[in-house]
Each structure stands twice: as structure tokens, then as C-alpha cells.
Symmetry: C2
Subunit: 511 residues, 2 copies
């Protein structure tokens, strides 16, 4: 089915969407199903004519066709969703280029550099920070990597695979041989792509140890206006600053990532997952800290506060729920799990049934189902008049209590804030907050911008990062500029100038 011009996935059925809205309102107590608003259909969207004719040398893979342009205008932030829902495509790219190989990527960059047309690289288009929106003056071409999606080579001895940047999660894992898998499951797994993950330092499903795609990358290849940037396949190296770490998080501003060698693993044969309930949030947080500092490296260590637990896994609304899981393709993980439950028990956690037995397995499955279904649920928000912002950060343990208190106290009673600890490091957690508020119809973008500004100020004031795994994009940019070291910004600007002298690569992102 073809992609909707506004929704996550294909165009939703109108009746199902309304029904989802009713359920959401019942669950959250926010939004008004009686005042349901319909999306502006594709035929009625507002789209300016393309300012750039399709260049002859790119015409085989380049288009100015409205559907192409509209479906490449936005990412998936609520800020994007509401504008698309209302039919506002003012920042649509003038052209969409869909290269089939690196040669065609090079041709786009050469043409764009010569003509001064901005290039916005795009993978799955799931950015939630305005990273793929041509939110600047002047013409833009969207460089969609979606046709470069092959698994080119697999080294089963070293367990690594060479994958093209435009391959999505299911495509990568569907094309790896035997039991080999890329164990990386962000919430956007269905649509987001390897190139996008690398460009944004995306976070996967591992709660500890290999939290970001960074940890699974062996080598990267990117096309820059100054030439091909290809690092050597190496398991480790100490030869100067890591070239890969310069591209990881570069958000399309330094080059277009076209392929990468990634570390793959056998699919786990041993899994244990246990839900642990806590009446005290503080005790649950202390348990997560102990787990993160234990060296047990749980694959799952997600703590849902009482509100999230109630929504996500049928919790009772009073207990926080910690899901502790271990997985291995090599060995049973019972010793690991047993020690983890000793730790959580020491903090007053009540362990439920382990995965494999009915309660735990169901709870775990429900949580996972909810996790990957979440983006679809958001489709009902604009019609319902519910405004949503999810933001994530990371902070050291010593600063977390004050940060958490400040975040939870930032909003008034009509705004629901919930928290989960999605990732845990020895030196601090990565909390993920969900903010749900009643929308003022027509004012949603300004409302959202205000929410964003207020939470971002709290993050910076408490020594946290503006993002743990959602990238900077355009929405986080002012706060990122205050967070990063100024000499680093100088160096980054100089590096960009050397690689992209015409300044056409994703303008406004990072530098």
C-alpha cells in the first residue's frame, strides 16, 4: 500500500481512525472525539509549484511530481503530523531525486553544488526533529535513498554485513542469511533506514551496552562533494580520531551515507524477561542504577512509571514496572537473570512471572506490541485535538532526581507527563518523556514549539543532553548550539566548508 501523505504508514481507514481517537480519549482523558476533525485529503493540499525544472542530466531518477514532493516534505514529529493533516506543505522540496546507485548520488551533488540547490538526504523520513524538512529559503531537492536498499555482502566469519543506506529494518533482517540478524530495533524499525540511523545516531532496543547504532557500525561509506569518504572495515582502531565517529550524527550535513558494514549476530536462542513492580519510583530508579552498574548488561532494562505502565501494559496505575530481560544466542541466561532479580528485590521490587510462563510472557509481548504500534496510534492525535511531544535525554545519576522533578513539574494539571527510563548507563539513565496536552485548534504548532522550548530549557539547565537518540535536526538546533563546546562548533563548520564548499548539504542542520 502506498504511503499516506500525512499518516504513519498507509492512509488509515477513516472509521478506524475515529475509533482509535475515541479509545485514546478514553485512555488519556485528553482530546474531544465529538469535535473530530478530518484530514485534508491529498487532492486539496497546499503545494507551491516547483521552483526548479527537472534537470536533464537527472531526469531518469528525478521528479517534480506532487505526490513525490508531498510525501517527502516532512518527518514524523507531531509538529509535522499536524501540518500535513491540515494540508500545509509549504516547505515541500522542489524536486525529489531517487538515485539507484552511488554514481547517481554523485550526479545529484555535482548538479546541486553547481546550481546552489540545497540537498536534503532522506531515508525512511521518520525524523522527529525536523531533520528532513527543507525549512529554509531557496530551492531544495530531496535526495531519497529508498532505491538503494540491498544487502551487498555478508562475512559470516566476522559476522558483518555490507548494507546500502536505504534499507529499512525489516529489509535488512529479511535479507541476511540463516540466523544472522542486525539486532537493532528502534520504534521506527518498520520504515527507518540504516543510513538514517547512522546519520542521526539512532537508539535501538538494547537498554545497555550497545544502545546506539554507533556500537554496531564497522565501517561507513559516504559521498561528499569533495569525494568518497570510505573507512576501512576494522573491528577496532586507534589511528587518529575515528572517521566513522565524524559521520555518526552528521545528519546529512557532511555527506550522503550510501552504505555501511554493520555487525550482525545470531538470533538469540535464550531469552528471559521479567516484569518487576515497585510502589516507589525512587526505589525503582535506584534498582536500575544498580543494574546498570552491575556489569550484567541486561538487553532490556526499561522502567515505566505508573502512568506509562498503566497505558502500555495494563498496570494498576500505582506501581512502576521495570522490564528486565536477557538474551543470548550462546548460553542460557538464568544466572544473569537470577542476579538481576536479587538486585531489584533488594530495592523492594516484586518480580512477576518470567517470560515463558503466562504472565510475564504476555506482559512482555504486550509491551513490545505497544512499542512498535505506538507510531500508528499517533495518527489519531490531530483529529482528536490532542497535542503530543515525546522527548528523550540522558543525564548523570546524581543529577537525575532534580531533572525529573523539574520536568514533571513544568506543566499544569491539564497536561499529562509520563516517563520511562529507556536506556541505562553505569553513569546515568536516558529518560524518555511523553507529554500529552489538549490542543488549541489551529494553534498546535505554536503550542508545540512552546512545549519544546520549555522542556528544552529544563534539560539544559539540569546538565542533560538535548537528545539521547533523536538527533538535532532543526527543532533542537538552538539548544544544541548552547550545549556543544564552541571550539568544536568552529571545527565542525570548518570541516563542513572543506567537504561541502557550496554549502548545499542539509542547510541549517548542525552548522
Amino acid at each position: 500500500m502506498s504511503t499516506s501523505h500525512w499518516a504513519w504508514g498507509p492512509e488509515p481507514d477513516p472509521d478506524e481512525l475515529r475509533e482509535m481517537g475515541r479509545l485514546t480519549a478514553a485512555y488519556t482523558g485528553i482530546g474531544d472525539p465529538a469535535a473530530w476533525e478530518e484530514p485534508v485529503p491529498f487532492e486539496r493540499v497546499r503545494l507551491a509549484p516547483s521552483r526548479v525544472p527537472v534537470p536533464g542530466e537527472l531526469r531518469e531518477f528525478c521528479s517534480a511530481e506532487p505526490y513525490q514532493r508531498v510525501t517527502r516534505t516532512y518527518g514524523q514529529a507531531y509538529r509535522d503530523l499536524i501540518r500535513a493533516y491540515r494540508g500545509d506543505f509549504g516547505n515541500a522540496p522542489d524536486l525529489v531525486a531517487r538515485p539507484r546507485d552511488e554514481g547517481e548520488v554523485e550526479r545529484v551533488l555535482a548538479w546541486a553544488s553547481a546550481e546552489g540547490v540545497a540537498v536534503v538526504p532522506r531515508g525512511g523520513g521518520t525524523s522527529v526533529v525536523g531533520g528532513v524538512e527543507a525549512r529554509f529559503d531557496g530551492p531544495a531537492v530531496c535526495l531519497d535513498l529508498g532505491r538503494m536498499r540491498r544487502v551487498l555482502e555478508v562475512d559470516e566469519v566476522s559476522r558483518a554485513a555490507l548494507v546500502e543506506a536505504g534499507a529499512s529494518g525489516p529489509e535488512i533482517n529479511g535479507r541476511l542469511p540463516g540466523e544472522l540478524r542486525l539486532r537493532f530495533f528502534p520504534q521506527s524499525y518498520e520504515f527507518s533506514t540504516l543510513g538514517g540511523w547512522i546519520a542521526t545516531r539512532a537508539g535501538g532496543h538494547y537498554a545497555t551496552l550497545h544502545t546506539h547504532i554507533d556500537d554496531l557500525v564497522e565501517a561507513v561509506r559516504a559521498i561528499t562533494p569533495a569525494g568518497v569518504w570510505e573507512s576501512r572495515r576494522l573491528p577496532g582502531s586507534g589511528a587518529g580520531p575515528s572517521p566513522d565517529r565524524w559521520l555518526l550524527g552528521s545528519e546529512g550535513a557532511l555527506g550522503v551515507i550510501t552504505r555501511a558494514w554493520v555487525r550482525v549476530q545470531e538470533r538469540p536462542a535464550f531469552k528471559v524477561s521479567v516484569p518487576v513492580r515497585f510502589l516507589s519510583w525512587e526505589a525503582a530508579v535506584a534498582a536500575v542504577r544498580d543494574l546498570a552498574q552491575s556489569g550484567l548488561h541486561p538487553s532490556n532494562c526499561r522502567l515505566l512509571d505508573a502512568r506509562e505502565a498503566a497505558l502500555a501494559s495494563g498496570g494498576d496505575g500505582r506501581h512502576a514496572v521495570l522490564i528486565v530481560g536477557f538474551e543470548s544466542a550462546d548460553h542460557p541466561v538464568d544466572a544473569w537473570s537470577a542476579r538481576a532479580l536479587e538486585i531489584t528485590g533488594g530495592h523492594g521490587g516484586e518480580a512477576g512471572e518470567a517470560g515463558g510462563s503466562p504472565g510475564g510472557a504476555r506482559q512482555d509481548r504486550e509491551w513490545k506490541g505497544t512499542f512498535t504500534r505506538m507510531p500508528y496510534l499517533r495518527n489519531a492525535y490531530p483529529g482528536l485535538g490532542l497535542i503530543a511531544e515525546t522527548f528523550e535525554t540522558a543525564v548523570t545519576w546524581d543529577r537525575f532526581p532534580a531533572l525529573h522533578e523539574a520536568v514533571m513539574g513544568t506543566f499544569g494539571e491539564r497536561i499529562a507527563v509520563s516517563c520511562r527510563l529507556a536506556f541505562a548507563y553505569p553513569d546515568g539513565p536516558a529518560p524518555y518523556y511523553t507529554v500529552l496536552a489538549p490542543a488549541i485548534r489551529g494553534e498546535e504548532v505554536a503550542q508545540w514549539d512552546d512545549l519544546k522550548r520549555r522542556v528544552s530549557e529544563v534539560l539544559l539547565r539540569h546538565g542533560a543532553t538535548i537528545t539521547h537518540h533523536h538527533a538535532v535536526g532543526r527543532d533542537h538546533r538552538p539548544f544544541y548550539d548552547r550545549q556543544r563546546p564552541e571550539p568544536f562548533a568552529l571545527a565542525l563548520r570548518a570541516a563542513k566548508q572543506a567537504l561541502d564548499p557550496a554549502g548545499v548539504l542539509n542547510p541549517g542542520v548542525l552548522v
Copy 2:
């Protein structure tokens, strides 16, 4: 005791040194104790007069005194050792600045930038790649961080410590409270410093997982001519390319690292270490690969080939020996160790006694003792007429057999080459080779350069890295230039130009 002008540590006793030479010759069959050559004493070294008068504004902490200059001329490569032994200090820095705080570091950089004097930052001076030698035209000041060695702050909740760059391994661990330790033990531990480790991406003692200092760094602060580069303390972040990863491996070319927050841990209460013997090298390598891909994360997983095992731990000269160890401050590691021995047994490995019982403990202790004593043993090489090169690399598992065969076959019969796998990653090992050859007296530097060139060509040809944890310095530079992506080199040059417009920071290193 004061540092020798040529040896590792204080000036060795001449009789003990000769005795060490006799033992080394007996063990290795290389070198001639009868033709023993004495070191040139400090009083007779060749040192040009300083070309730069001590500037008035730096005189409180800056000196042109010969002992200061001589003891800051070299690192600890064999190439350095032999020149120092012969009294050749032609590349001595003209001045030695020993700032007591960041303000004094800034004053050195401001003065040097204005006067066009090169600045060579120095920690413990244990570089084995010419990283701290003023091997260029024009005057140089050595910026010795040795007076900035405090532990400034400890966050026991997050388990992190703020440490000044000039602190050595024992100084850091001696100053951390209670059971907290920085678990990072390079062979140079006694003298090398935190700042040096970060600047060179040094490797510690963990064989898997946290192999480099990179993995233990939470935040870095550096003084650049363009200002203070200080990253935020964060357990994890996805906000753009990591600023810390730009400084890690920057080798003094982008700025002077003055302090860092590092992740510390409790001292392990549970340890198991088991020696496992293999008659077949290939089987031992396969066992290491399986261990590295098992997710068990052994803290020690060092494989010594038969020659290394014989020298280092009394092996029989026929068996390769793999030391497999686990450590934890939180939990017994028996389940981990038992599964590891199942894996090695599956490859035909015969497990010896585990640490705690006499055999294994002795073997493990002997290995560790040898490990930290090794640099002292090298003091006997110049007198004996033995030339030594140790080099390390990393390569993917699929390429390792061909690389190993090529390295072992590069030299003739009179040259002894041995190998250990020092670190193991899921996608490849980091082998460490020792080459011992009879010296042609007076020709050692040219001989060494030829050895280096030959092994480096083999590394590059087989897709390996020019260094896994010894940095690039000046000795690896031509090979590094061929290894790194050219657009990355462009970007690095531009970044350096932005941060160090006068080009005074460690010229010739990296760019």
C-alpha cells in the same frame, strides 16, 4: 628516584643491566653479551643550545635547563631508546614548560602562537610512535602536563571522577576514594597519563568490550588556541557527532587535553582466570573468535602463541596458551567462566587450574608480572645489540589468517617473531607482534625503520589498521595517510586550521 635520560624508569644499575642482557640473550638467542655496549652518560650527551630564550611571561614554569630538555626529547619506542642510549638528543625541545594550571597552559599557547614556536604536549612520555618528539624544523616547546595531576572531584553516585590530564595510572587509583578504581591498565600504567591515554586512544587491560580509554571517558576538557573545548558530562548522547570522539586520538594536534571525567568502578571482588593450552594455533584462534562472539565479555582473553607463552609464562614452546578471565564487583563469575571453558574445550583447549588454585593463579600472576615488567626488560636491548619492534593492529576475522601468515613470513630465520591476541572483538582480533632481531651496531635506526616499513606494508595490504592502540605519531604517519579516507583528511585539516590557525600544535602529527 629521578628519571633516567634514556631508560624506562630511573637509571638502571650497570651490573644488573648487563645481567639482564645475559638473561635476554639466553632466552631469545639474539644479541651478544660479550660485545656489551655501555650507555652514553648524561654528562656526555649531544644537545644543541636552546634556540629560544625563556620568555619572561612564562619563566615561573618554563626552563631551558639541559636535564629538563633531554628527558623530554623522546618517547619509548626502540627507535627512541637506541638514540638516547647513544647520547643523541638532536631533536630536544628548546624549552620545557610545566604549567600548574589551565591558565598557564593558555599562556603557553598564546605565546607559542604569537611567536610561531611549535608546542609538543607531553604526558608520561611513553609514546612508541614518535608522538612526543620534536621531529621537525624550527623551535619547539615541550608542554609537560606532569604538574596537573589531581583528582578534582568524585561523583560516587554516578561513579565518575574528574581527573587532571597529567595524572598517571597509580596516581589516579591512589587518589580515588574507597573501593573505586579506574579499571584501565595499559602496559605503560606506571608512567602514562590520562591526557596521554585520551590523546592517543590508548588500550587498557580489558580484552573485550571496554578495550580503549574511549569507552571510559564521560567528558573531556581541552585548551585550544581558539578557546576552551569542554564537553558536557553525559552518560550517552545523540546530539551531533560526539565532541569527545574528535579529541580522542587527536594526539595534541587540535588542543591540549587538561582534564576529563572518567567512569570508575568498584574494585572486583570476584575473579576467575584460567589458562587453556592448545596444540593448534588455528584452533586457539577459533576459540577466541567464539568467545568474542559469545556475548560473555571476558575481561581477559589473551592468546599467546607458543613462543610468547614460553617466554612469558614458562610454556613448553609447543602449546599456545589462552588466558581467559572474568571479574566482577557485583557477582560470582563461575557461570560465565564455565561456559567460556565449554567453548574453548570445544576447540580442543585443555584448561589448567583456575585462579585461586596454585597452577592457574601462579600462571596468571606470572603473566601479569611479566606484562608490567616488560618495559624495564627493554633497557637491556641497546647494550646487547638486540633490536626490537612491537606493533599491534586489528583486522576482521576473515582476513586474519592471511595477515598472520604474511607477518610471520616477512622476516628471515635470524629474526624472531611472536604473536599474542591482546584484544578480541566480535568481528576481529587485535594481534600484537613482537619482532626481535640482531642489531647492526650503529645502524639500528635505519634497521628499525626498515622493519617498520615492511610490517606496515603488510598491514595495509591485508586490510588491517596501522595501529590498534599505539596512535599514529610520526612513525606511522605515511601509512596512516594511506589508510584514512581522503575527505576525512580534508575535514581534519580544516578543523585544525580553525582551532590552531598558527599551526603550532604538535606539527607533523595527523595533518
